[in-house]
Symmetry: C2
């Protein structure tokens, strides 16, 4: 039995617009989840994040288990109380971080073992421990199964091995998670860019039965075209009545293409990371505010957005802040970029509801990315 | 004729509570001005600064003339439009920065010449140029005369030389400034910690005639006791009906002592700088949030303050943010510290209005600083 009702309210081609109902609030889909790695969406207050229209954020299991530790967050009342985010939160399982961030990672049937990038200490992350951290200690609303995410490119053998281990870990996660009314567990499809493996992974996940299904193992270097090719078939392999979440994606154009292929949820560090480095997303692509052509540009980034960072400051001022290394520059560009992403999701939901997604997608492709960063 | 009406509404001993009326808004005194060095109060939005109760902020002439340049700010509509601060702004003249920040500084009768710490380029700051930058290009509300601020300790000869040059520069600033209805010009008393020189400086300034009078050349290493000794006599040498501004001061205890001695205005980087380094001011003195004793402290910094940073986040969360090098930690502690400072100024104004400043001062001295940083 699915923990959270997921109502699909409109369809347009393969795309869906719906609502995922959670005890901490509704999530309109397609949804973009800002990444709050260490229990903070970098540089922003939760009020600022909320003001962009974000209805759910993501937290990182590996970061939080290392600092301040999941047990400490539990003693402090859970990750919502700790961070001040009162809406739903999804936590990743740690599978991707163990591959990408940690050192000396060793994966066995039992668990992943890795070294902390903070102090080198050794840690063990098993499926059961990942569930304990996410569901019991952090108190996450949407819990992800532990998976093994392989780098790109991967041999067929390597990808097959990883998807099968991920499926076995998924079953152990399901057993550890049990039945819960107020929390949901999502499985993660693997299989690299190989269609038969994506099919096998999906079938194994469906057999276990999850509350939602993620498409993992993309945005790991395969590029936009290869990703779109996988998305031509992968979402359709997953249950139609449950949310589909494309992990770690992406640029606005990636979101538009993935939504058009039936994806409902996304997360990505790009808007906040780019913001901290002086890059602003616009409807016509990314621009770098360090560029001298903004030095006396008195226009705001986007006066049509209901976000102070987008509307109330000139590009000249933002250029000055970024050139001067001022924290406020990082704050405002992170804030603006999240506002751009949430506005895009609203536009996509409206386009689906009104049956004009193909038109929207075409105009989006025509508009951008028009400028290099 | 004074540009801005200054109404003293209550007195308590040497202390005064009043209102300085400017075209961009009233400033209740005693007032603390957050420092917005490079047209940003570091790490904060102007909305956050305003929400603490700040009614005026300070900008730095030397920083702004070097980057983005005063001419550029003028082309962009002045420093208010550029920064988004709509209230009154005071700009320092550059005298202190030339001494403290710049390299290869050379002071002649005509002007100070110095090298930019950004790119080593040479710049000349004369009294006339300082007024042009502040009053005409930036569009500051309260313009400071250019002065020569000597380091501490200074010989009597050196201090005398500097105060006399400052007085001659003050006269040139006054001539360059002329008569203005919507901007004010403040003179700066020098004279180090030598009473006779403070007297001579005050007399020279009064002869020129300014809209307000600053006490300069303190908070340069002389220490709290020596500063208080100067403040026992220096404010009383300045006109009673004009605002008195103690430049670059200070810790909360410095503000309480200076207000008790008749000072009306202050600026200091301490609350924001300390915040960026993990230090929070409390009624009982400064505490360092990095300290392990805050790791599981579930209390907010100060639930009695009407500031989200003080009220809505646990010390444990702030500890985590600071330990993790998260920008939000710097934002929240800077915000909280400014809220503490503005609350202190409100308390001081109320104590003066109600004739209980001596009592307030005693309880403040008893309360703090109780803890080492």
């Amino acid at each position: 039995m699915a923990a959270f009702p997921f109502e699909i309210r409109a369809r347009d081609g393969a795309a869906r617009a719906g609502v995922l109902k959670t005890p901490r609030g509704d999530i309109e889909t397609p949804a973009f989840m800002p990444v709050g790695t260490a229990a903070t969406v970098k540089a922003l207050t939760m009020d600022q994040v909320r003001a962009t229209g974000a209805q759910i954020i993501l937290g990182n299991t590996v970061h939080l288990m290392l600092r301040p530790t999941a047990e400490r967050i539990a003693r402090l009342g859970g990750v919502h109380r700790f961070s001040g985010w009162t809406g739903p939160m999804l936590t990743d399982s740690g599978g991707f971080q163990v591959m990408s961030l940690a050192a000396l990672t060793k994966v066995t049937e039992e668990a992943a073992t890795f070294a902390s990038p903070i102090d080198g200490s050794r840690h063990v992350l098993s499926p059961e421990r990942s569930i304990e951290i996410q569901a019991d200690l952090l108190g996450s609303d949407i819990v992800m199964q532990l998976d093994e995410c392989v780098a790109f490119p991967a041999s067929k053998e390597r990808a097959e091995e990883a998807l099968r281990l991920s499926a076995r870990w998924g079953a152990r996660c399901k057993a550890a998670f049990g039945e819960r009314e107020d929390q949901a567990l999502f499985g993660i499809q693997q299989g690299s860019t190989i269609r038969a493996l994506r099919r096998e992974s999906a079938d194994r996940l469906i057999e276990i039965g999850f509350d939602g299904y993620a498409i993992g193992g993309l945005a790991v270097g395969e590029g936009h075209e290869a990703m779109c090719e996988v998305l031509d078939y992968a979402p359709g392999m997953l249950p139609v009545h449950r949310p589909r979440y494309l992990m770690g994606v992406g640029k606005p154009v990636d979101l538009v293409e993935a939504v058009s292929r039936g994806v409902d949820m996304f997360d990505c560090v790009l808007p906040t990371r780019a913001g901290r480095h002086g890059q602003a997303w616009t409807r016509r692509g990314p621009v770098n505010l360090k560029n001298a052509r903004f030095a006396e540009d008195d226009e705001p980034l986007d006066a049509t957005l209901d976000c102070p960072a987008s509307r109330d400051y000139s590009r000249a001022y933002l250029h000055h802040l970024i050139k001067s290394g001022e924290i406020l520059g990082q704050v405002l560009l992170s804030w603006h970029n999240l506002a751009v992403y949430q506005a895009l999701m609203r536009d996509l939901r409206a386009a689906i509801a009104e049956g004009r997604l193909a038109e929207f997608r075409k105009s989006f492709a025509d508009d951008g990315p028009a400028e290099a960063a």
